[in-house]
Amino acid sequence: MAKIIIPTPLRKFTDNTSVFETSGGTVQEAIEQLAQAHSGLERHLFDDSRNIRSFIRVYLGEDDINSLEKGATTVSSNAVISIVPAIAGGIN
């Protein structure tokens, strides 16, 4: 099965699970499965229109799904999906 790597800031919503196995055929289906299994993740992953939130990137292997077919990108059984939060900051 394909795997989704949960970033540490979101693991409090997955009972500290770091890797989620999914049978989703597309990236959108895979992420939806994850959100259904851990309902606390919903509002952190999706906006009100069910789109993945803008400050979250999703990678398939080392490819940004925005450079592929976004949520419709096909997921193979040995794929690794990463949820990547934006990390930035700096002085005022």
């Binding site: 790597i5 970033p7 540490t8 800031p9 693991r11 409090k12 770091s18 890797v19 990137r57 990678y59 080392e62 940004d64 990463s82 990547v84 939060p85 934006a86 990390i87 930035a88 900051g89 700096g90 002085i91 005022n92």
Partner: protein
């Protein structure tokens, strides 16, 4: 008294300080790995510098690329450790979390900030978001030699 405590190995502090000095007058950044106890206290054992990918003024901003971030999570899984946070420097500014830091902060993470004044390390503090609120709490930093 802070709500949170974070123990940082002397070796990790040395890595952070050296990165801050080397990057000066730009901001440096990197990943922090270690373990978390049941009471929420943390032991950071490893700091790993990463490229500041911010396009524009790196003297006032840092950004970590998504690819570097996903590799950091994979490193943690492969090495049975946990990505506990990130560090960055504030060149010629105090180690106080800024409005920009707050706006971009993720929950859970420790945000270690090293203040580098005129090329010398002046201070090091750590910050963590209060649960479910956009407010930073300062963590009590304890530097330990033996880990």
């Amino acid at each position: 008294m802070s709500k949170f405590s974070v123990y940082i190995s002397e070796e990790a502090v040395e890595t952070i300080n050296a990165d801050g000095i080397e990057a000066f007058p730009n901001e440096c950044c990197g990943f922090l790995y270690g373990t978390e106890a049941a009471d929420g206290s943390r032991q950071i054992t490893l700091a790993v510098p990463v490229s500041n990918s911010k396009e524009g003024d790196q003297r006032r901003r840092f950004e970590i690329s998504p690819l570097d971030y996903l590799r950091a999570e994979q490193f943690a899984l492969q090495n049975d450790t946990t990505l506990l946070g990130v560090y960055h420097s504030h060149p010629n500014h105090p180690a106080i979390a800024s409005e920009h830091d707050l706006a971009e902060a993720m929950p859970y993470f420790s945000y270690v900030i090293v203040s580098v004044m005129d090329g010398e390390v002046a201070d090091l503090k750590s910050w963590r978001l209060r649960d479910e609120e956009r407010e930073f709490l300062e963590e009590t930093v304890i530097v330990n030699v033996e880990v």
